[in-house]
């Protein structure tokens, strides 16, 4: 009998850590949403003069909304990952427990009767590890999609600065502030996402 129970990082711990990080991302995304609402109010007050700013505020709102939705998806994916990880850990624990006494079991008159359970366990562990890998990839993809959105946010922020200069007057400062705040939030979110991705990568290696 041979056991192949590779000890891997338990992802349920990681999932909890990710959930805490995601909360920070959520707060920043809500700030973008609030910033977009303020900017929309400015655009509404500015009338025709500021109409070119409207697509920017609309896009900011959409960006915030989509980011919040993805965070919710990531939360769910992290929860699934935690469950999957616990199941996989339990299976490995059974294998570990059996392996501790494997020499004694093998020498026992009915020791061979453990073999079918052991084979089934090994298959189940492999399947669980495959499912775990799929969930990790899915989580990485979701984090990647937030990263892409934040890159887009930086482009929007640059566009907002140009539009602010075009609008000029008293609104210029307001719109420059909106652009700066958007950029700050996007940078913070990207930092958090990068941390999460690094943790995920480290854990899965």
């Amino acid at each position: 009998m041979e056991l192949n129970a590779a000890v891997k990082q338990d992802f349920y711990v990681l999932a909890v850590t990710l959930a805490a990080r995601l909360n920070e991302i959520l707060l920043e995304a809500r700030k973008i949403s609030l910033e977009a609402m303020n900017a929309k109010a400015l655009v509404a007050r500015g009338g025709l003069e500021m109409r070119t700013f409207k697509p920017i505020t609309d896009y900011m709102s959409l960006l915030a909304k989509e980011t919040i939705a993805v965070v919710s998806d990531i939360n769910e994916a992290a929860l699934h990952l935690a469950h999957q990880s616990l199941q996989e850990m339990r299976l490995r624990d059974v294998m570990r427990q059996i392996s501790v006494r494997l020499p004694d079991i093998e020498q026992a008159p009915f020791g061979q009767s453990v073999l079918p359970s052991l084979d089934a366990l090994e298959t189940d562990v492999r399947n669980q590890q495959g499912a775990l890998a799929e969930k990790i990839d899915h989580l990485a993809d979701l984090l990647g999609s937030i990263d892409q959105k934040m890159r887009a946010a930086r482009v929007v922020s640059a566009t907002a600065r140009i539009e602010a200069a075009v609008c000029g007057g008293s609104c210029e400062k307001h719109f420059l502030d909106v652009a700066a705040n958007l950029e700050t939030a996007a940078r913070l979110i990207r930092t958090r996402v990068t941390d999460c991705r690094k943790q995920l990568l480290t854990a899965s290696q």
């Binding site: 339990r90 299976l91 624990d93 059974v94 427990q97 059996i98 501790v100 006494r101 004694d104 079991i105 026992a108 008159p109 009915f110 020791g111 061979q112 009767s113 453990v114 079918p116 359970s117 089934a120 366990l121 189940d124």
Partner: protein, 249 residues
Amino acid sequence: MMKAEVIYSKDGCQWLVFGRDSHKADRIIDTNQYMVKVGNEAVLLDPGGIEIFSTMLASVVNYAPLDQIRHIFASHQDPDIISSLGLWDRTLPSASLYAPRIWEGFIRHYGCNSIDYVALPDEGQSLKVGGREFVFLPAHYLHSSGNFHFYDPEARLLMSGDVGAALMPADAPMYVSDFDSHTALMKGFHQRWMPSNDAKNDWIARVRKLDIQTLAPQHGAMFRGDDVKRFLDWFEALEVGIGSRSAAA
């Protein structure tokens, strides 16, 4: 290693006790696990905690192949009784677990996906194993609110869970040899862990009607012959449920 001893063997029925595990961590209470084998069918009684699973598995396969262990009995919900369930669940996927009805939602927390949970009704029931009939005897509030013992009328053997338990060293004998001195090892345990004098007396009245040659508790040493009656007399005279006094002090 864990000691294993045949405590009854007749007409194709064999009772075994597994205990006195020398590998066990010091801070874990020592437990007796039992197995009844009738022909090609076996029952594991209070198979124990996670910590002793591997030792138990290695011991059990000395006496029966895993596919013959089709029944598991958990007298109540305690971790030293059945926290290994999640591990047995992976090694005995076709087995049935007989455990108190009221504890099902709790015991399942140990992991019970493949094993079939048979919820024992409060009034108890019987179990046929290899053509031989056994009884799940109600022992509620001794100490758990949903609690059963396992009686073999033919072997005249009662597996009595925590009733009759004593805290003893790992090298202690499997049977009580000096009843009077043994009571000192049982007294504190029973007074503190058994909550109800009414439940205790009700159980004693029912058990006195049974023919019992061996009383096999889940901790400590087993009682044989006249020591069974001595134990019942001693237990009847003992006031239990004294824990609340320390709170009132």
